[in-house]
Amino acid sequence: MKNNHLSVSWWRSIDKIIFIPILILLFIGIIAISSASQKFGTINLKSNLMWNKHLIFCILSLFTIFIISKLSTKQIIILSISLFSLSIILCFTALIISQETKGATRWLNFIYFSIQPSELAKPTFIILSSLLFVRYKIKEDFSLIINLFCLSLISLILIMQPDFGMLILICVVWVIQLLTINIKSKILYPIISAILGIFLLCFFILDHVRFRIMNYLFSGIGDNYQITKSIDSFKSGGFFGQGIGEGIISKKLPDSHSDFVYALISEELGIIVAIIILFLYMIPYIRIHYICQRSSNLFIITSLTGLSNIFLFQTIINISSTLNIIPTKGMTLPFISYGGSSLFSSALLIGFILVLIKDDINE
């Protein structure tokens, strides 16, 4: 009974316009993975390990949203700082271990599962940086230097992994936050030019980044297998799709369960559902910005800007690369793609947003 009372009061406290679209997206994700997982496991879903794992991840992420959204703003700041430090340590551990084993550098393998610690850093870094930005704006002290140090630390990790999608995502959102607090152009321009310089350097030094971009611009350099198959799946789906589990072309994509899950959904459920998904991402985003405009707390404005943009940019980057609008980038679709780390990170992000909105309204 007590527990029931708890959940009822929780349900009243949260912003449903944000939470309900997320629930629907999770549901669509479960359906999509049920089809995509057949490539790896059995057709019988009960014994399909991948689908079962995805179900568990979904339940865990819902539980995470539930727990996080019960906290207060102060508590999530403390949580963010501790989780960010933890993820940085884990990232470096993964890098050091990987140098010995020559394995994948993004992942930290445990016995039964593996985690991608950089995913954890994404929402927590936004909270941390907006805290530091607000402090800098009011006191104009060394907090900007700490902020820059944190950014360079995480950038270094992402370049070494290498995970350029996330690097660009975090840098762009950080710059948006920087622009949000109106700082002196004397400081602003050097910082932005430094970031652009690093990007250019990466383009010229790192082979695979150049390959991806050149391949996009003049698609004849390498094999454009993934992107051709992806576009063909959109075409084959048409408006109403081939039906769940009937997708043929998207199943040929190596990442139809993660990076190219949107192509799979479009082929099996049709462009109509694909457009509905687009709106499901848009509704929380618009709602967050509506609250932002009415908010009187600079910290809440800055952090909500960062969190909502990281959420939407990730979606835009994923969908755009499946549609060949931008070069292919390994980035998951929030709440739909398979993967525990990505789901947990998205859940953390939505949990933070719910807390900030709740506190803003209570103020």
């Binding site: 109106n182 075409k235 084959s236 072309i249 687009l278 800007t305 835009i316």
Partner: protein, 561 residues
């Protein structure tokens, strides 16, 4: 409370706290936090503006994605056209009893992914051990992903798996197999990768959808015919040979053999001269077999030629240079029947002189000797008639010269002579038979022709074609080949066309040898009677029990219903 209506700074509440002596700086004390609050308010305003700006940028991006989605969805395509379902294997080609003539099996191809190779030296060494004849190893360093070998055997796959290099990639593929090897090579043709020929090519759209193709041919009959024809080819030392067995009532082809042939399993061994299906893709001046069309004209017109005698003691001056004689007949005067039984050229000319060019032209046209025959699925060469249908050509054609026919065309026209005068369309693909056939000759004419054909075998040139216990009729044919613009005395084409059972012919068999050189005996000369007719006899003695005793025709009719 005042914050809401705050518009500008009110300096009443701000007073100097202290004045520095040296730098002349003034420090203010902001007692009600007005300056700080106003600054904070400005910051928030700016933050909200920036926020709104990026909000609209993001929405613009989303709209762009939406437009792209709609643009893609508008040009929806047919999935099967671009991605033919790979799990559907190509359809089989079957004979009339369901025996497999062509089928597909799943095999594996070996690809090499150079990026994943652990040890290039070791891999190339091991590959050389397994495939000693292959020389594409230098590619290892150049190409990233390439085909190394198609159609691996199970043994090779096991050996390759034992190497255990991640650079080795297997991909399933399909191989076309022809279990009957050479027997049906000229019908099925071959298919390797995208190269294909004959039925494999002409029915590619049907087969690639996974639908089977059922033919009218019979494996047993085809095998017998081919065996006997090969024996004949060896005995008479001919350049090439061909044979057709056909149902004269519905045009179904039961057997079609052309020699030399090839093994479609190894298309690389095909040579130019073996690839043509001589039955449909070659044409010959047929010779005496065409004389039967004169007889049909005479019977059809109820001419009194039937009761006439012909003087063949003197040669017939056809042109200034060319004199026609019947040196092989030891008679001075022959009657109408004898003209065909002994195959007299002079008598044929005299008959056509009486009947006239126009009637001959009409019959040839009606019976299909002039038209280009059309057989569904086979490539048929067009017949070559005379440019001007003048007197000389008309007379030449009466004994089978001056007109080149594809064997399939001759056979289908000949079928009309014996089946009651109905037009026959040759058919290789098993389809529902349509009953409406154009009739060009009367039943009476057809009967008379059959009586005449029987006499040819009983008493005349076709004696060697006789089969014990089977009543049959037929006509020999011998024609000289053109060499350097002149009719050669040595090179001949010999043929025999026969039908059985003669009371009501059901089946027609045609045998033709190109350039037979008969070395047995004293005579170096070859005729239809001593080459094609004996082979015909051997073939029919073996296939007639299959075709007639099993009541083949009725059986196949029931089946088609």
């Amino acid at each position: 409370m005042t914050e809401k209506n705050f518009t500008g700074l009110v300096y009443d509440n701000i007073f100097p706290r202290s004045i520095g002596k040296e730098s002349k700086k003034i420090y203010f004390h902001d007692s009600n936090d007005l300056i700080r609050n106003s600054r904070k308010e400005e910051i928030k305003k700016f933050a909200k503006k920036t926020n709104l700006l990026f909000f609209f940028i993001s929405l613009a991006f989303l709209m762009f994605i939406l437009i792209n989605l709609l643009k893609i969805s508008l040009n929806k395509f047919d999935l099967n056209q671009i991605y033919p379902k790979t799990d559907i294997s190509r359809g089989e080609i079957l004979d009339r009893n369901g025996e497999v003539l062509a089928t597909s099996i799943k095999t594996k191809d070996l690809y090499i992914n150079s990026r994943n190779i652990l040890d290039k030296g070791k891999l190339s060494m091991k590959l050389k051990e397994i495939f000693p004849n292959k020389e594409s190893l230098p590619k290892l360093n150049k190409k990233k992903y390439f085909l190394f070998k198609k159609y691996l055997s199970i043994d090779e796959i096991n050996k390759l798996k034992k190497i255990g290099d991640p650079g080795i990639v297997f991909q399933t593929s399909e191989k076309r197999i022809y279990p009957q090897h050479n027997i049906f090579s000229h019908l099925t043709g071959f298919k390797i990768d995208k190269l294909k020929s004959k039925l494999e090519n002409n029915f590619d759209s049907t087969l690639s959808l996974g639908k089977d193709l059922k033919l009218t041919v019979d494996l047993k009959v085809q095998n017998i015919v081919r065996d006997e024809l090969i024996k004949g080819l060896e005995i008479y030392n001919a350049k090439s040979a061909l044979s057709i067995v056909m149902n004269v009532k519905n045009g179904e082809i039961l057997s079609m053999v052309s020699l030399p042939d090839f093994d479609p399993n190894f298309p690389k061994t095909i040579q130019d001269f073996t690839e043509n299906n001589l039955v449909t893709e070659a044409r010959y001046e047929m010779g005496s077999t065409l004389k039967m069309f004169n007889a049909a004209l005479a019977f059809e017109l109820k001419s009194n030629l039937i009761r006439k005698n012909f003087d063949i003691s003197q040669g017939y001056q056809l042109t200034n240079k060319n004199t026609i004689s019947d040196s092989h007949i030891n008679l001075d005067k022959i009657n109408f029947d004898q003209a065909f039984v002994h195959s007299s050229n002079i008598a044929s000319i005299k008959i056509i002189e009486e009947i006239g060019i126009e009637k001959q032209k009409e019959l040839f046209k009606n019976i299909g000797l002039i038209d280009n025959p059309n057989v569904n699925g086979l490539n048929v060469v067009s017949n070559k008639g005379p440019r001007i249908w003048n007197d000389t050509y008309s007379k030449s054609m009466s004994y089978g010269y001056g007109i080149s026919l594809s064997p399939i065309s001759l056979v289908s026209s000949f079928a009309t002579l014996v089946n009651g005068g109905k037009i026959v369309t040759p058919n290789i693909i098993k389809t529902k038979l349509n009953g409406n056939k154009k009739k060009v000759l009367s039943n009476e004419t057809s009967k008379q022709i059959n009586i005449l054909l029987e006499k040819v075998v009983k008493n005349g040139t076709g004696k060697t074609a006789a089969v014990a216990g089977l009543k049959l009729g037929g006509k020999t044919g011998t024609s000289k080949k053109v060499e350097n613009g002149q009719y050669s005395e040595k090179k001949v084409i010999t043929s025999f066309i026969g039908v059985f059972p003669i009371e009501d012919p059901n089946f027609l068999t045609f045998v033709l040898f190109d350039e037979p050189q008969r070395n047995t005996g004293l005579s170096l000369e070859s005729f239809g009677s001593n080459t094609a007719a004996p082979t015909f006899s051997k073939i029919v003695s073996k296939i007639s029990p299959i075709l007639i005793q099993n009541n083949y025709f009725k059986y196949s009719r029931n089946e088609s219903r």
